[in-house]
């Protein structure tokens, strides 16, 4: 009950941010160079034809009028239509968002699964070989641009070794997508009991997810190590040791549960990096995600998809931060009281 009210309050406080995002994206897309009407009319169009298209798109109106119309459409759930695909933006985004979300989430899970244990071990064996190795790996991962890591992985695992399938989208050309339930192919294929599709999806997903995960290793591993080091040096860990608690209880039960708090905060930031980085990875792996969609629209001066993309990302980010705050409260009783 109290938690529900807190979530409600948090959502209300998020509304101004959403409003700000709407205004900024609207203005930004109008300020950007490029004439949508001219682009849409094609290179051979006469000035009269361009003007006609401009009027049809409502671009001859003043900015405030355009803005009001935009907000009115949004309120009705109408994000406008993409000029390049001809589809409503909302339909495009709902079709493509799960692809990106699946990619980023799998990458995040992969990164956490590697980086957190690595960080813990590095902290337990401070200044040992493992610690140094952890630092080198993490630094290298974050230093390489994602498109480079992506291409390298494709070169090694697809071209040379031939272990990975061709990096062309979420599924092999010949396989068919599982019936849509969540939009996440991994989940949908399992729901449909289709192990073959599940394996095919996973095979396609491994390289792009690994590319993103490598990029995300460094901040998570370094944060885990730092947080663990400071917690391991704290008084209550000394008390736990002096009480004879087993190393496992001390490290995982006492130290890690305290150290996980800053790590969760970092995860939120890493998630937003990954959303940004996924644009490039989607390009490299021909991933039919929302990032590549937005970039194409931007290049084509196609306003509506760009606005829709930024808005959806902003809302996603707000929701993610809300989740982190709730999680934080579940772990740390002190935050519960203050909130």
């Amino acid at each position: 009950m109290r938690v529900a009210r807190q979530i409600g309050q948090r959502l209300v406080t998020a509304l101004p941010s959403v409003a700000g995002v709407i205004v900024v994206t609207f203005l930004l897309t109008r300020i950007l160079p490029g004439d949508t009407a001219a682009y849409f009319a094609g290179p051979a169009a006469t000035p009269a034809a361009i003007e006609e298209i401009r009027a049809r798109l409502g671009l001859d109106q003043t900015l405030p009028v355009q803005f009001l119309r935009y907000v009115g459409d949004l309120a009705r759930g109408d994000f406008g239509a993409s000029l390049t695909t001809g589809q409503p933006v909302l339909a495009d985004i709902t079709a493509r968002l799960p692809a990106s979300a699946e990619l980023v989430l799998v990458a995040l899970v992969l990164a956490v699964a590697i980086a957190v244990p690595l960080g813990i071990i590095a902290a337990l064996k401070e200044r040992s070989l493992i610690d140094h190795a952890c630092r080198v790996v993490a630094t290298a991962g974050v230093s390489l641009p994602v498109f480079f890591t992506g291409l390298l992985l494709v070169y090694v695992f697809y071209y040379i070794l031939g272990w990975a399938p061709s990096p062309l989208g979420r599924l092999d050309v010949f396989a068919s997508a599982p019936p849509t339930a969540s939009g996440f192919f991994l989940i949908d294929s399992l729901l449909a009991g289709d192990v073959e599709t599940f394996r095919a999806t996973l095979a396609q997903l491994v390289l792009p997810a690994a590319t993103l995960a490598i990029f995300a290793l460094a901040p998570i591993a370094r944060m885990t190590r730092g947080a663990m080091l400071s917690v391991l040096g704290s008084d209550f860990v000394r008390t736990a040791r002096a009480a004879g608690l087993s190393p496992n209880t001390v490290v995982m039960g006492y130290a890690f549960r305290n150290a996980v708090l800053p790590v969760i905060t970092t995860l939120g930031m890493v998630f937003s990096f990954l959303l940004g980085a996924s644009v490039l990875v989607e390009k490299v792996f021909a991933w039919p995600g929302i990032g590549s969609y937005a970039v194409e629209a931007l290049i084509a001066s196609d306003y509506a998809p760009v606005q829709g993309f930024v808005l959806v990302m902003a809302v996603l980010y707000l929701l993610l931060n809300l989740c982190i705050d709730i999680l934080y409260g579940l772990i740390d009783p002190r935050v519960r009281i203050d909130a």
Partner: protein
């Protein structure tokens, strides 16, 4: 019956690996504790008293190691025992209670569960009865409503309650040896008394052996059978606690004893070596009030942290503001310093009302430079990236008008000399200085603009007694030679008596008693003041 000591340490040497090679923190010490005996280890910071106990428990951090010696605990040689067996002993046979109880408990685990963890680990309870045993243990350390408190987190409890929980945790498995490392440092005197009595009662009742590690000779003498004094990793003296007080033999013990404020001691007597200089010539003072506070109130929510107090400080006078944590003494000093806006009441400084000036605007107020403050923790109150010189020069540059660079340096050197800080230390950063030196920087900074009133907020609480003795004398000399007034906020009655002309005792936001230092301390009228004085540990006579 058992003539064999429970714990017998011979030639113990502990070394720490540092960048400059191995450093001996403990150097060939011997100690032994019998069952039913309480041993006190007394020493100042760096004496190796805590390291000794960590070595016994084998919980030294990675850089430290037992280089030499033997530790025999009920017949077992601990120095060679495998870590897995050591873990079985810790908590079950030998336990530890630490300083700073709130930090010593896991902040995100219910206190009852933390006690259960220990019980379950040492097979003293099963899943079914762990909760009941944990609650029984909370009850045993006299925590009221233990069933409810089982679900409390450390941040929901007071410092004294947290220390009871730590004691419950340490004693849950009925160990034979309890080591308490500064268990009451930072707690109020009345809380200290309750915690110490509880600990002594439980150890006596179970015929346990105990080691009390403290910097407070008075505390050790009051509760221990034998007292061992350590200096720089060596034991300098070990004797029954009555003898240590009446007939100390080692010069260090004598010096320590001398430096410890006690009833009847005089400020000058605290320092033996080197002999303090005679008091400086006094600056003539015009009579009158420098500070006059009336009806001061600070409200937080529905509570009054400060509840309508009147106090005044005369020119050249030092007034002690005494009380336990939460009594409102710090809130009062913050309001007088104009760091906090009062909810009601007036603060007159040198006849001018400053209580109405918003705290935010007071930084640029002309009166600001005439009131200064010296803070409790000399380390935390200095900017770690400022050299001593810059720290001292900071207020001069902000409020002393324009000053040439060489004149500024000269002024800093003058101030350093005044507070007894060697001039060559001016270029050092806080981490390169000792606690006493940092305290001097804090004082130099406060007197840099020749203030009329200095608020001293427990200025010596973080210092060793011998350093405290020197700093208290310095403060007294500065007051006389510069003609300043002090408002001295403290919980230590002995220290207040040494430095202050008048004492004000606060409790729950109200003044319960005020008068001259002799009156209040020798013949207190309020019951609360008597309670406070009685709670200060008395050595056996």
């Amino acid at each position: 019956m058992d003539k064999m000591p429970l714990l017998d340490v011979r030639d113990l040497t502990v070394e720490f690996a540092t960048r400059r090679g191995a450093v001996r923190a403990v150097d060939q010490i011997d100690l032994s504790v019998m069952r039913g005996e309480i041993l006190g280890i007394v020493g100042e910071s760096g004496s190796g008293k805590s390291v000794t106990s960590y070595a016994v428990m084998r919980i030294l951090d990675r850089a430290g190691r037992i280089a030499e010696g033997s530790i025999s605990f009920s017949g077992m040689a601990l120095q060679t025992l495998p870590e897995s067996q050591m873990r079985d002993l810790r908590g079950r046979e030998m336990s530890m209670v630490f300083q700073n109880p709130r930090a010593a408990l896991n902040p995100i685990r219910k206190i009852g569960r933390q006690i259960e963890d220990v019980l379950l680990r040492h097979a003293q309870a099963t899943r079914t009865d762990a909760r009941a045993k944990s609650i029984a243990m909370l009850d045993r350390v006299r925590i009221a409503r233990p069933e409810e408190r089982y679900d409390a987190y450390p941040f929901e409890l007071s410092g004294g309650m947290c220390q009871r929980v730590v004691i419950a945790l340490a004693l849950a498995c009925r160990p034979q040896l309890l080591i308490a490392d500064e268990p009451t440092t930072g707690l109020d005197v009345t809380t200290q008394k309750a915690v110490m009595e509880l600990m002594v009662e439980l150890t006596r009742e179970r015929r346990m052996a105990a080691i009390l590690i403290t910097h407070d000779l008075g505390l050790a003498a009051a509760y221990c059978d034998t007292v061992m004094v350590m200096e720089k990793g060596k034991v300098v003296e070990s004797a029954p606690s009555a003898d240590i007080f009446s007939a100390p033999t080692h010069p260090y013990t004598k010096r320590l004893l001398q430096a410890t404020p006690k009833p009847g001691s005089v400020l000058r007597d605290l320092v033996m070596d080197p002999q303090p200089e005679p008091p400086p010539p006094a600056r003539p003072i015009q009579p009158g009030r420098i500070l006059d506070v009336r009806g001061l109130v600070k409200t937080y929510g529905a509570n009054n942290a400060v509840d309508g107090i009147d106090l005044h400080v005369d020119r050249g006078e030092s007034v002690g503001l005494v009380g336990e944590s939460g009594c409102g003494k710090s809130t009062t000093s913050m309001m007088i310093m104009r760091l906090l806006d009062p909810s009601d009441g007036s603060i007159q400084f040198d006849g001018q009302e400053i209580g109405a000036v918003p705290a935010r605007a007071f930084a640029t107020h002309p009166m600001r430079k005439r009131i200064q403050m010296v803070f409790q923790d000399p380390t935390d109150s200095l900017n770690p990236r400022f050299t001593a010189e810059r720290a001292i020069a900071d207020p001069i540059q902000r409020m002393g008008g324009s000053i040439r660079r060489d004149a500024l340096r000269a002024r800093c050197e003058e101030l350093a000399t005044l507070v007894g800080l060697p001039v060559h230390l001016l270029d050092r950063f806080p981490h390169q200085m000792s606690g006493g030196q940092k305290a001097r920087v804090g004082i130099a900074r406060a007197i840099a603009l020749n203030p009329d009133l200095v608020i001293l907020d427990e200025p010596t609480a973080a210092l060793d007694v011998s350093v405290q003795a020197v700093v208290l004398n310095l403060l007294q000399d500065l007051k006389i030679s510069l003609g300043m007034s002090y408002l001295f906020v403290s919980h230590d009655l002995h220290v207040v008596r040494l430095l202050c002309d008048r004492v004000i005792v606060m409790r729950a936001g109200k003044i319960v008693e005020q008068g001259t230092a002799e009156q209040v301390l020798e013949a207190p009228t309020a019951a609360y003041t008597r309670e406070l004085i009685a709670a200060v540990p008395h050595p056996p006579t």
